[in-house]
């Protein structure tokens, strides 16, 4: 029996994961190194990669700070009642249930140029939708639960005793946070960061809706892949996809490493 199951497992992995990854590599090299470089050094490709980079950095920073704080409040705070805490806790998962396209649509509906808030911002010269701020908002929405959900179980597990001891001794929570809480949640946070980077790197649906996919302006790496495919420029799509896939595989390795460290602590 063992042989059958193991070979079937290998077969599924081969068909579903390994062959496709190899195909991306060979596809991007179809015209050799030159074709790959040429596709990547198109101005729109460079711009798209830069946009993706900006979004990843900003979103990861914001999501980490707010995610850790919210996790702390949801686990520790005694100023939120039990029932309310439960409600907030279940609200955290909402973005998981929302299709990315709908996530984008929500931002367009609330902050789009035809709405009151959107018009107000536009008057003072600050564009949200079809510009970078909207794309960052959309990605923040999509990645929101990742950090909170990584940090909360760790906090619940370690309990509040040590922190309480530190606070009784008269230390302000900043000190308590850095010297008592942080060392124990560190690997959970790092794992959350890796997940956030991966998700914001690859976000497509929400960003496509909010950005309008304007070349050299609001185009990200994933939406460029989409546009290249639509224009039947498969080689170019492959090259950008290869860069993204290489990052994802790297992140996957980081994930494994962080997971192992997390389990040790």
């Amino acid at each position: 029996m063992k042989k059958v199951w193991v070979s079937l497992t290998y077969l599924v992995f081969l068909i579903l994961l390994i062959i496709p990854i190899i195909k991306i590599f060979t596809g991007a090299w179809a015209e050799g190194w030159d074709g790959f470089i040429e596709a990547l050094s198109r101005p729109q490709a460079l711009h798209a990669l830069m946009m993706t980079g900006i979004i990843v950095v900003v979103v990861t920073a914001l999501n980490t700070i707010f995610g850790v704080m919210l996790a702390l409040y949801l686990v520790r705070a005694n100023w939120i009642g039990g029932k309310l805490k439960q409600l907030l806790n279940s609200l955290v998962d909402l973005p998981y249930a929302v299709s990315p396209v709908i996530g984008g649509l929500m931002i367009v509906l609330i902050l789009g140029p035809s709405t009151a808030i959107g018009a107000l911002f536009e008057d003072i010269g600050f564009k949200i939708v079809y510009a970078l701020p909207g794309m960052i908002l959309a990605t923040l929405f999509v990645t929101f639960p990742l950090m909170v959900r990584e940090v909360m179980p760790v906090l619940q597990e370690i309990g509040a005793q040590q922190e309480e001891a530190a606070s009784t001794l008269g230390a302000y929570s900043w000190y308590t946070f850095w010297h008592v809480t942080w060392p124990s949640i560190r690997w959970g946070v790092i794992y959350g960061v890796v997940l956030t980077v991966a998700r914001s790197l690859g976000e497509f649906g929400a960003v496509l809706v909010v950005s309008g996919n304007i070349m050299n302006k609001t185009q990200t790496a994933t939406t460029l892949v989409y546009q290249d495919v639509e224009n039947f420029n498969v080689l170019a799509a492959n090259s950008v996809a290869l860069v993204l896939a290489a990052f994802s595989v790297g992140l996957l390795l980081l994930m494994e490493w962080a997971k192992k460290r997390k389990e040790v602590h």
Binding site: L94, V101, L105, V225, Y226, V229, S248, L252, M255
Partner: protein
Amino acid sequence: MNNLFRNRWWSFGFRTTIMLYFILLIVLPIIGIYGQSFRSGWGPFWESVSDPLAWKAVLLTLKLAIIATIINIFLGTMIGWSLIRYRFPGRRLLNSLVDLPFALPTAVGGLMILLLLGPNSLVGSLAQGLGFDIVFHEPAIVVAMVFVTFPFVIRAVQPLLEELDKSEEEAAYTLGASKTRAFFQVIFPTMLPGISSGAMLAFSRALAEFGAVVLVAGNIPGKTLIASVYIFGEIESDNPQGAAAVSVMLLTLSFVILWAVNLVQSRRLGK
């Protein structure tokens, strides 16, 4: 005293900021979308929803997501089992690879499927020779859904199998149960909560999937146009009302599933 006062203001400021961020980013948009679709009352909402193309898209999404989930239940149970129970060369590598669909941008996933199964590929031309199409038709959508939801069932089943008490299984053997019987009476019931919660998560993800599907589906209205692509099309053609109405249908469905997952999980923890 002065110090305490300042601390209090600080922490009050922090609390308000975090809670405002939470509510503005997550809660408000969702209320907004329900508000938008019912803004002009039931009539226009009903009109948008009862557009045959709209409900055909929703039904198609449901059908294909169910097929993808069933495939994933079988694949996930088998792979979760093999990865935990057997020791074989490459096991750890495969175990890390499971998460690849989570790490890979969905648009890249769609492109991979397009390259492998497209009309110019080996598989695609073979299938065409046999008289059926994959890419730009329903099979490709199912493949895309299976790909993006691949890790859910596996990751839900694995911890349960790891926790499984070996002695229970051994007791079954001692009592003379065959391997099949021991599997279905002892092991399978343990895996079941994992399979069901993993399957529900996979199902809700498959319903919502956009990136991988938009590239491989032909997006022909009424035939291969799934709900999320329909919503995208409505936004592009500047019809937020229609987009919001279909979104509300899809969202409500996903919320019910998410709620069911929570119920299953809390019942398991409570036991």
